[in-house]
């Protein structure tokens, strides 16, 4: 479905240097030699810190940006050259932007999109009915888009991206800013769409929940290079990310002594314990409460930035995972 080979994209940044009038010219490599293949029916999470090159990759996939070097093929087409043909085969959602028209009711926006993608009336009716049901659009189909809540708008945007029934769905931070329930709705919808219709999904996010719930395959980009490509579990193992138990003891004291558990930090009665890979948090907690007087416990999952930070710090070693 997607094939990228040695793809790079550079931007030229001109900036005024201090008080001198001469302007300096810096070439920024937003994407720096990326190669990967995504097959039909895959659900891929594309991760990376801000500025890593995620959105640039997405824009090259959709043909909004042309690659500076390398080759990009999506659904058998060259995105930059065959942008219009490609747009009819992919659905795109930019979480921070909307494809809907601010002043129009949602229903009218969707009708306009039907004409944009030349969907015939009967197919449109059937798909709209289906999407209305699964995304629960009914209550606000007649509401102008500017009055929708973020969660409603996102559901509307998802419907807009799928009205032409594309085999590939590209989502750029689809759950950004959504509340827990809206997130769950969006995730459930994407999961079903992928499982039942075989829609290939590529998703960028900063939300580990999205990744854990949905993605069987994860790609991590940093400084414009692919730092990891593989399953989620292996990502955690590769990155050496650990879950952390934050413990409030009854009294300040020495770092706790538990087999296999290392103490990362001590601040008065509060201690941060790293749970080793593959260990059960329950076992550690049982051990801990058996030996110490504990006031409170919180378990922290490693967040995605942490995983990526570790991954990147781990250096080039993980590069072999890509090869």
């Amino acid at each position: 479905m997607i094939e990228m080979r040695d793809v790079s994209r550079t931007f030229v940044i001109r900036s005024r240097d201090g008080r001198r009038l001469r302007r300096s010219r810096t070439v920024v490599r937003a994407v720096d030699g990326i190669s990967f293949t995504i097959g039909a029916g895959e659900f891929v999470g594309y991760l990376g810190p801000n500025g890593a090159g995620k959105s640039t990759t997405i824009k090259m996939l959709t043909g909004i940006l042309a690659a500076s070097a390398g080759s990009v093929r999506v659904a058998g087409l060259d995105p930059a050259r065959q942008r219009t043909a490609l747009a009819r085969r992919i659905g795109v959602v930019f979480g921070q932007r909307t494809t809907l028209w601010w002043d129009l009711p949602l229903r009218d926006s969707l009708t306009l999109i039907r004409h944009l993608y030349r969907v015939d009336a009967a197919a449109h009716r059937a798909r709209l009915a289906e999407l209305t049901e699964v995304l629960d659009l009914g209550p606000f189909l007649g509401t102008p888009v500017r009055q929708l809540s973020l969660g409603q708008r996102m559901r509307g945007d998802l419907a807009a991206a799928l009205l032409h029934d594309p085999p590939l769905l590209v989502l750029d931070e689809p759950t950004i800013g959504l509340d827990v329930i809206s997130k769950a709705t969006v995730r459930g919808f994407l999961e079903r769409r992928n499982a039942e219709q075989g829609t290939t999904v590529v998703l960028t996010t900063h939300d580990l929940g999205d990744i854990e719930r949905l993605c069987r395959r994860v790609m991590v980009i940093d400084h414009g290079r692919l730092a990891y490509d593989g399953g989620l579990d292996r990502l955690r193992a590769t990155a050496g990310a650990q879950r952390v138990l934050v413990v409030d003891l009854a009294r300040p004291g020495e770092p706790v002594d538990l087999p296999g558990v290392s103490v990362m930090r001590v601040e008065g009665p509060r201690q941060w314990l790293a749970i080793p890979q593959g260990s059960s948090a329950a076992a550690v907690i049982a051990e801990l409460t058996g030996r110490y007087e504990v006031r409170d416990i919180a378990l922290r999952e490693p967040d995605i930035e942490d995983v990526i930070t570790r991954l990147y710090r781990a250096g080039r070693g993980s590069r072999e995972a890509v090869q």
């Binding site: 940006l65 042309a66 932007r97 030349r118």
Partner: protein, 263 residues
């Protein structure tokens, strides 16, 4: 074609929802029509037959140009597209399976038709009632509508170019101001271009801004007929083609080297 017609239709509808804004625009345009008419009356009483206009022509010119402000969007400087480029929302527009320029042209035409009917007509009607500006015959009126349509096209082409420059400039405000001031001065909004002396007049009458206000107003006043009318149509059409062509070239260039703001 169908989708562009829809876009135009939706633009028309979108503007029609802002009724108070439309009404206040009509009032403003009309009030300034009176102001400008009295200034020009004073000028033409001091200098009769200046630039080949008489006092009646000058009064009609004031209201005509006021009526054209809306459709030609003289004070806008650029399109809504500018804001979308600044915020990066243009990424959404660029992804759609339509031509970016065609899309925005359709949007602007919908807006222009609305503005002509609901801003232009009432403003001109006010001038007709107050000053007895005569309504020309059907042939002249049709010729005027043709010229006004070309004016809208040239106006769009210019504003589209200004908008696209935002891809490179990062901030459009400077260019916006230059564009608005040039449009006002060289279109005939401040003074009819017929009174500009010597070479300044010749240059001003050859620039694309003349196609926005001066030319359609002169067509309304019956100063261009027969082959003369074809000549001014050709003048407007040539600018429209050249500027739309430049817009296309700039769109292509933007696609290849642009940076979209905000990730």
């Amino acid at each position: 074609m169908g989708v562009y017609l829809r876009v135009a239709g939706y633009a028309f509808r979108r503007y029609s929802t802002y009724r108070v804004a439309t009404a206040s625009a009509v009032v403003t345009n009309t009030v300034f029509g009176f102001l400008r008419a009295y200034i020009l009356i004073a000028l033409w009483q001091a200098r009769p037959q200046l630039g080949g206009y008489d006092v009646a022509d000058a009064v009609a010119f004031s209201f005509l140009t006021q009526a054209l402000i809306g459709p030609v969007n003289v004070f806008a400087g650029s399109l809504e597209l500018t804001g979308r480029i600044r915020t990066g929302d243009v990424a959404v527009d660029l992804h759609r399976p339509v031509d970016l320029q065609g899309w925005w042209l359709a949007d602007d035409l919908g807006r222009a038709v609305f503005a002509l009917v609901f801003r232009g007509v009432p403003t001109l009607a006010a001038g007709m009632v107050a000053f007895g500006i005569p309504l020309p015959g059907p042939a002249t009126l049709a010729a005027f509508l043709g010229s006004a349509a070309l004016a809208v096209l040239v106006g769009f082409a210019l504003r589209y170019l200004v908008s696209l420059c935002c891809f490179w400039l990062g901030d459009e405000r400077g260019l916006h101001t230059v564009s608005t001031v040039s449009t006002m001065f060289f279109s005939g909004m401040i003074l009819p271009l017929v009174v500009f002396p010597g070479p300044l007049g010749e240059v001003a009458r050859a620039l694309p801004w003349a196609a926005l206000i001066q030319v359609p107003a002169d067509v309304f006043l019956g100063r261009h007929t027969g082959t003369g009318l074809l000549g001014v149509y050709a003048f407007q059409a040539a600018w429209a083609v050249a500027l739309l062509g430049a817009g296309r070239a700039l769109t292509r260039a933007a696609r290849h080297r642009l940076m979209i703001h905000g990730g």
